[in-house]
């Protein structure tokens, strides 16, 4: 029987031929989907379209939305939010603005166009091809006569609405692209240049003012009043005395235009500010942020009282609502929400399209691209009847979908929508999951497995060992898949705690900064503990009554009291003896003494495990007891105790959290500090837990390798 090569193609069993066709189909479709996704085409499996901007009509109950899929949508809020979609732009719409009389709608987009249309007829009045590059922001003066835009080309364009002409171009300016604002009187235009703000005169293009910020404490260069991250949103107050700016540094600054300095700072958001809008009365500023929340800042003082929590991802836009005491927000989660200001609850939600969050869409397409490419590699191997390709396909189609499909499916079950709608949202993902399940079932058919196990050209013994190895790998693939599923499920459960994800992202680096100290404290403590344990063990094994008694007492008292209590006693008692230790040395001392007592037994066993013959051989050579211990017994004992010390080290990394009560800035301390400060203890301690887990897993892996390495030395 010829089982390889071209002539083998005809002798392939039918099930193998089916498998090859299915995998070829899967891989090609995956790549096709990914390619069209990255090319910006509209086929996006079950993914909503983010809302980039919103505007409310001052005179009619209409809300306009600029959507990432390139449509402008108009909702009639009085008529059960009836929808009208307008397709004018090629590409996402970055801003929509109603004229003061509410009769015209101005829209700008990534296609670089500015379109001015009549709202009731839908007729385009002016179509201005302003730029070849995306326009990111636009602002209209209060009387509706002057529009300013800014885009990726860094040029500020001033447009006369009546004529539809570009009356002035300022720039290109290096570092300007994100935000622009026109004063109410239409005379000043402000644009963000990196962390600074520049104001020009719209009439002659003259530079009027530059807002950069200042030190509150000039002498010591402390407390910067200004932005430390790129400015992302700008708005003038209706009376043109204030300019309000939002930034990547998460702050909202209120600039006094007379002095050019920051008057108040709002530090309530945890991520970039996406939009700032003044209410018509000029008494408050509405802000939306990538921290999934919107806020209202009171103008005298810049204090924020109300938070609007509910969006599933970044809030891109905010506007006063049609009804009094409401506001409207639009987010990257594809929803438009109308909020009741008094009780900060959602009174209405509109979805651009039912689907999962865009982030999952990105994950899905990345997975499809990856799986498509690897799928073809598998296909090549499978057609050549290679054993590795069978294992690779199994791994690809078991583990990948758990993450790429499992996460969004579980996520969709948490959306606050009806179950039927949830099923609609999940449908494409569930279908895909079923498809992968079918592939796995075929791959695991006995005939398929047998076909790809060792070819008959090998010796029987080799065949058997290869088959055995393949079976082991298959089983560990499934075990790995279960592990990954458990992680995904755990993540999904945690998401239901209503965790403040942007808050976690914001403080992740800060808490993570404690991981280094945790490792440092644990590493030094384990060294200290080894010394104590060694002395303790030698004392226990000694014939000297003093050594024996002291070590016995040490072990008894330390093992007989809780570590937490010991830490308190070290912390509180040492200063009374006028021994002032810094928190870190005191913590290391507490841990060393405690673990030393526990590890004494390990060392005692290690020393005793070195045979009597070794002592005798050394003594017979004339070596003294000290020499024997140092040169012969301890080196061997150390090899024996290294694996258990590794275990103790892992335990210590977790127990090192107890020294947080001494004020050592390690993981737990930082988590507790931030948690208390912002009332988000679950979030911060989850981060700390995750880091402990990661550290533990990494060290367990290293320890496993170490043990295997040492065991190998023993066998040889």
């Amino acid at each position: 029987m010829n089982s390889t090569g071209d002539s083998g193609a005809k002798s392939r069993p039918r099930i193998i031929r089916i498998l090859l066709i299915l995998i070829a189909l899967t891989a090609s479709l995956s790549i096709l989907y990914a390619l069209q996704y990255y090319a910006g085409s509209p086929v996006r499996l079950g993914v909503v379209s983010p809302v980039l901007d919103l505007a409310t009509n001052p005179n009619t109950p209409i809300v306009a939305g600029g959507i990432e899929d390139g449509s402008i949508r108009l909702w009639d809020t009085t008529n059960n939010w009836e929808l009208r979609a307008i397709d004018l732009h090629d590409g996402p719409i970055s801003r929509v603005i109603f004229s003061p009389d509410g009769k015209t709608l101005i829209s700008v987009g990534y296609d670089g166009a500015v379109k001015i249309q009549d709202v009731s007829s839908g007729q385009v009045i002016h179509d201005i091809n302003a730029s070849d590059l995306p326009i990111n922001d636009a602002s209209l003066s209060e009387d509706g006569s002057v529009l300013a835009t800014i885009g990726d080309d860094g040029v500020v364009r001033v447009i006369d609405i009546a004529s539809g002409q570009i009356t002035r171009m300022i720039g290109p300016i290096d570092g300007a692209a994100k935000a622009v604002a026109v004063s109410s009187d239409g005379i000043q235009v402000a644009t963000a240049i990196g962390t600074d703000i520049q104001i020009w005169d719209t009439r002659d293009g003259a530079e009027l003012q530059k807002l950069t910020g200042s030190w509150e404490d000039e002498a010591r260069q402390e407390d910067w009043l200004g932005h430390s991250g790129d400015v992302t949103a700008l708005v003038f107050s209706p009376d043109d005395t204030l300019l309000v700016s939002g930034s990547d540094d998460t702050n909202v600054n209120f600039w006094d235009l007379e002095t050019g300095e920051v008057k108040w700072t709002g530090e309530n958001h945890f991520a970039s500010i996406t939009k700032l809008v003044f209410t018509p009365d000029g008494e408050s500023v509405l802000s939306s942020s990538a921290d999934y929340k919107s806020r209202i800042f009171r103008v005298p003082g810049g204090k924020s009282s109300d938070t609007f929590v509910g969006h599933l991802s970044a809030v891109n836009s905010i506007a006063p609502g049609v009804l009094p005491d409401t506001l409207i927000t639009g987010g990257a989660d594809g929803s438009i929400r109308q909020w009741d200001i008094a009780n900060t609850t959602v009174s209405h939600i509109e979805w651009t399209k039912l689907g999962v969050q865009p982030g999952w869409g990105v994950l899905l397409s990345a997975w499809l691209l990856f799986s498509g490419v690897i799928g073809f590699v598998c296909l090549y191997g499978l057609s050549k009847r290679k054993g590795w390709s069978h294992l690779l396909s199994l791994g690809l189609f078991i583990i990948g979908p758990i993450i790429a499909l499992g996460l969004p499916i579980l996520e969709a079950t948490s959306y606050t929508i009806a179950w039927t709608l949830r099923l609609v949202v999940m449908a494409p993902l569930l279908l895909l999951a079923a498809w992968y399940a079918m592939l796995i079932i075929i791959l695991m058919r006995e005939r398929v497995v047998a076909y790809y196990d060792a070819p008959d050209t090998l010796e029987l013994s080799e065949q058997l060992s290869v088959n055995q190895r393949n079976a082991t790998i298959r089983s560990s693939l499934f075990v790995g898949a279960v592990w990954i599923f458990m992680v995904v499920a755990l993540y999904s459960v945690l998401r239901r705690f209503n965790l403040d994800i942007p808050f976690m992202q914001h403080f992740l680096p800060f808490i993570m900064g404690g991981a280094g100290l945790t490792l440092f404290v644990s590493a030094l403590s384990i060294v200290g503990a080894v010394i104590f344990a060694l002395l303790g063990a030698l004392g226990r094994l000694s014939n000297n009554p003093v050594a024996k008694g002291v070590s016995g007492f040490y072990i008894s008292i330390i093992r007989g009291t809780p570590l937490l209590v010991q830490v308190y006693i070290w912390y509180l008692a040492l200063p009374r003896l006028d021994i002032i230790l810094a928190a870190i040395p005191a913590g290391i001392l507490a841990l060393s003494v405690n673990y030393g007592a526990y590890m004494t037994e390990i060392f005692r066993a290690g020393i005793q495990a070195v045979g009597k013959g070794q002592h005798e051989a050394a003594h017979a050579l004339g070596m003294s007891r000290g020499q024997t211990l140092r040169r012969i017994v301890l080196p061997q004992a150390f090899r024996i105790v290294i694996p258990p010390i590794g275990n103790e080290f892992i335990a210590m990394m977790k127990d090192s959290s107890l020294v947080s009560i001494m004020g050592v800035w390690e993981l737990t301390f930082r988590a507790g500090k931030i948690g208390r400060q912002y009332f988000r203890n679950i979030e911060t301690f989850l981060i700390a837990a995750a880091f402990y887990w990661i550290l533990t897993v990494v060290f367990q892996y290293l320890q496993g390798n170490l043990e295997a390495y040492m065991a190998r030395g023993e066998r040889k």
Binding site: G611, G613, Q614, E616, A617, A618, H619, A620, L621, G622, M623, S624, Q627, R631, I632, P635, Q636, R639, G713, E714, K716
Partner: protein, 250 residues
């Protein structure tokens, strides 16, 4: 007759109530090879281990190369003498007892360096000579776990010799070895004997006793049953106990 290099007088050893060595005397001359044979439990190994104080004798005295120690006088002086005697008496064990964390060379140079304060270069030079002498030059970097039992025992002999002992004590050096590995160890012992080393050997290798030894001792129930030159011992033993023992093993 010159002064004997080993002088044992009235040696007793108890393990608790067990009286293992029951008052033996022995003189060994320089260059003499004495083989101790006998049934298990007869006290052979204990007697040998008493010679370098791995077992502390309960009574009696031992003098090796002019260093005399009486049993039961623990003192600083006593411990110092023990270490002196141990440096004069090399020992090879049934259980090989190489240091597993050192390679062959490391095993050999350890004691000369730590005990005698020899420089590493000097010790290594000497160790390489000895390794060559036991036929293991090419194994100098191997760890004990990668050497056969016979090779390990030869390294152990080289290790003992590197301390330049006056006498060598062998405690059943071939008993733990596979039969085909015994010859290589016995061969080294024979060469050592021919070079004039004073040796006390506890063994079951009767060929070694017959061919190499100057005197053979049968030890049974803690006492000498018979001491005789090998030709006499094996062909014409005087004691009934010896005849019984030989009948058992021959």
């Amino acid at each position: 007759m010159t002064e004997p290099i080993i002088k044992v007088r009235g040696l007793h050893k108890y393990f608790g109530p067990l009286h293992v060595v029951r008052g033996v005397d022995l003189d060994v001359q320089l260059g003499e090879v004495v083989v101790v044979i006998g049934p298990s439990g007869g006290g052979k190994s204990t007697f040998l281990r008493c010679l370098n104080f791995l077992e502390e004798p309960s009574a009696g005295s031992i003098e090796i190369d002019g260093v005399e120690i009486n049993a039961g006088e623990p003192s600083r002086q006593h411990r110092k003498h023990i270490r002196e005697i141990r440096q004069k008496a090399g020992m090879v064990f049934q259980q090989l007892n190489l240091f597993p964390h050192m390679n062959a060379l490391g095993n050999i140079i350890e004691a000369p360096m730590t005990v005698k304060g020899m420089s590493k270069e000097e010790a290594t030079e000497k160790a390489l000579e000895l390794l060559d002498w036991v036929g293991l030059s090419e194994k100098k970097d191997e760890y004990p776990s990668r050497l056969s039992g016979g090779q390990q025992q030869r390294v152990a002999i080289a290790r003992a010799l590197c301390m330049e002992p006056k006498i060598m004590l062998f405690d059943e050096p071939t008993s733990a070895l596979d039969p085909e590995l015994i010859a290589e160890v016995v061969d080294v012992m024979e060469r050592l004997a021919k070079e004039g080393m004073t040796m006390v050997v506890v063994t079951h290798e009767l060929h070694f006793a017959q061919d190499v030894s100057d005197r053979v001792i049968l030890m049974a129930d803690g006492v000498w049953a018979e001491i005789a030159p090998p030709e006499e011992f094996f062909t014409n033993p005087k004691e009934e106990r010896t005849r019984q023992f030989l009948a058992h093993i021959l």
